[in-house]
Homo-oligomer: 424 residues x 2
């Protein structure tokens, strides 16, 4: 089986748009143990579309063609494919009635052009479109399976799930299970050094690292020819090895973001949080409040961007800033303690640093960031040297702050002072 | 001239990665009046790579091939292309010396595998790579121009600029000038209604709208067969028509973001800003501080996520919240006035609303957001009903707040109370 995905649309040949549907289709195919051999993008122009289809039919035998099924003159995928296959297109009365009903339900006048969407390539089965008027088509010839899909993702995805996946089941080669372990606090190469000896040798168990500054994800793909549960067992065995090696450097095995993990722990421990941000300018608060329901534990914070705000709103002693500077462990600690007191929260979290591009000195370079966590156990301060551009430094700073919060809450959760009755 | 871009690399056939290099190359080609007809993605597998190259040579005559020029066994683009063309690959001693020197300069041991990068397809010209060891290649045959480029963007882009663009100059069909007008405050269809009658009929002047909730961009692409300045004149004439129709709904004609525009005006008017955020949770501050140098005018702010923070840190009267609610024009006004006073800023800007997904009621639905601006001229409040998911509502809220700030500062700039001597 040689698989090809073709995206049709002149906008995909400009410098503005990329075809992202193919990522979705590839993911679903991989779950069946199938891999894509070619991806093609071609415009609405008939001549080049015909050439692309001819080439694909010659080199691939399972072909997904997306886009160009709309009602306008630009939408010629149906006609082009019919011509290349040497088959007529035929009006399907049931389809026409469906399209008419679609417009009636929405009380919109149907344009005569929409009638074109009721034509099927001779021999094709039509595939229902719940979110639009362009039906998909599934066509089997002696040597080929060809699928026509609408371009808009919210039409394509449900159609793929409901009508295509069941039809692909008989091509299944294996069962695929994916696991994602998210880590923070280690760079890609250090993480790789720590776990490389655990990498599996077998072809049906693959490990991929996806790294960005402040976060490295370990993707496990486990395939089994026998069953989903066989794949699952292998994935879980490997995941356990990684977890015991990496310990609490892994903050999520379920896809959760760090802000959600921290939020879940705050909720579980019934703790409230207030924050004081300098160089991140609100980014930490933004991430915390991206989690629905965060108002249960996040009280708010103070953006102390200038020194006066640090002194007047957070109560950082002027002498501390004068002697040690706004970017210093003392100032970070005073900010965290100050916001905790001001807002009567259980935990105060602060960030102060130099996000660049200017403002750095040899002793305090761009990327130097102090982060402090204040609680009834006292105040912890971390010194960090982050890298990259302004936004990368802001992200790494917020990531480290959330991770300090997570570690503090994990320690609370496991604290021996808690009565067993309190544990779930 | 039929143009094709081929991206080689098995990672581009997974569900993780997209080829983005082709957007860059397409942009540069468009500037020469050239359009791309096909894009192909193929893996490292020799058999499919050979097929893809054969098809491309048969259907296109200017072909860009990216990736697969590295030193490892997976990198077989050179060999595959040589085979399809029926040409030998030959060792280039000068190239080999360059690669050796590259490693010497960096004091890294050169692996024997890197020698493979010194081979050229017979007849090809090598293209310097300033940021890596894989040289590019430019090959002209009777019917084809074929370009081999390294995959990493930081190697590809400088090579394209320095070695490819000059070689493409002789294929230039026209001169292209682009202009981008950024607007906020109008949806895509309302904006289109306002300017549609100005859309040019000519093929060499194109208008495209790129819309997202809270921002619509008008892209003008103007081509001239004669000269850059002829294209520029046409673009400017159309831009002026759009500007006089849309007025201050256009906030940027230079690519600037709204936060940069607002920041530039604050700096020009020598005004300082403090903010009070509720439902945006720090996102407005994050955007303001993404602009380097924002500490010159942005003093900081208060994230008053909970009601207690609104009352205690911003001085919003408890009675106002009890009577009108936290999401109300009165609370918004009190927040903006409160933060302006607390931080002694010229301007106070506040946001309070319901970002969802929960928390909405029939009278106060998800997406209802009040935004207030307080200054020595008094306090303005706007009522907004935004749509979409939590993050889209946060973006639209910050966008509207920045736009109110921009309009206030524009009015200040044009205020008759200013002495002419103060104007530049």
């Amino acid at each position: 089986l040689r698989i090809e995905i073709i995206a049709v649309g002149s906008e995909l040949l400009t410098s503005h748009y990329l075809d992202t549907n193919s990522l979705y289709i590839t993911g679903r195919l991989n779950e069946l143990g199938l891999e894509v051999s070619f991806k093609t993008v071609v415009g609405d122009d008939q001549e080049t579309l015909l050439v692309a289809l001819q080439n694909s039919l010659a080199r691939s035998n399972l072909i997904f063609i997306m886009g160009g099924l709309g009602p306008t003159d630009d939408d010629r995928t149906r006609e082009a494919l019919a011509r290349v296959l040497g088959r007529p297109i035929v009006l399907d009365r049931r389809l026409l009635e469906n399209i008419r009903a679609w417009f009636r339900r929405r009380k919109i006048r149907m344009s005569p052009a929409n009638k074109r969407q009721a034509y099927l390539i001779d021999g094709a089965q039509s595939l229902d479109n719940k979110n639009g008027t362009a039906p998909g088509q599934w066509l089997e010839t002696g040597s080929h399976r060809i699928v026509l899909l609408p371009g808009p993702p919210h039409e394509l995805k449900p159609m793929f799930q409901e009508s295509i996946q069941p039809r692909l089941e008989r091509f299944r080669r294996s069962y695929l299970v994916r696991r994602v372990l998210k880590t923070t606090g280690l760079g890609e190469s250090r993480l790789e050094d720590m776990i490389q000896d655990l990498y599996p040798k077998s072809r049906d168990l693959k490990v991929t690292l996806l790294a960005s500054p402040g976060q490295v994800e370990i993707h496990i793909a486990s395939a089994s020819e026998r069953s989903m549960s066989a794949a699952d067992i292998k994935a879980e065995r490997l995941e356990k090895k990684f977890l015991s090696r990496l310990g609490d450097r892994v903050f999520s095995i379920s896809g959760e973001d760090l802000e959600s993990v921290a939020g879940r722990l705050l909720r579980g421990e019934k703790k409230t949080l207030a924050i004081a941000e300098s160089c991140t300018g609100g980014y930490l608060g933004h991430r915390l409040t991206n989690v629905p329901g965060s108002s249960d534990y996040f009280l708010g914070g103070i953006l102390a961007y200038g020194n006066r705000a640090k002194i007047e709103l957070l109560g950082v002693p002027e002498a501390v800033i004068r002697k040690y500077g706004a970017v210093s462990p003392r100032t970070a600690a005073a900010m965290a303690e100050g916001v905790r007191m001001k807002m009567s929260s259980d935990i105060g979290l602060s960030i102060t640093g130099i996000a660049g591009p200017s403002g750095g000195t040899p002793r305090k370079p761009v990327g130097l960031v102090y982060i402090a966590l204040a609680s009834d156990l006292g105040t912890d301060v971390s010194r960090n040297l982050f890298w990259g551009k302004r936004e990368a430094i802001k992200f790494q700073s917020s990531q480290k702050a959330l991770d300090m919060l997570r570690r503090y809450l994990l320690a609370e959760e496991n604290s021996p002072s808690k009565k067993p009755a309190e544990k779930k």
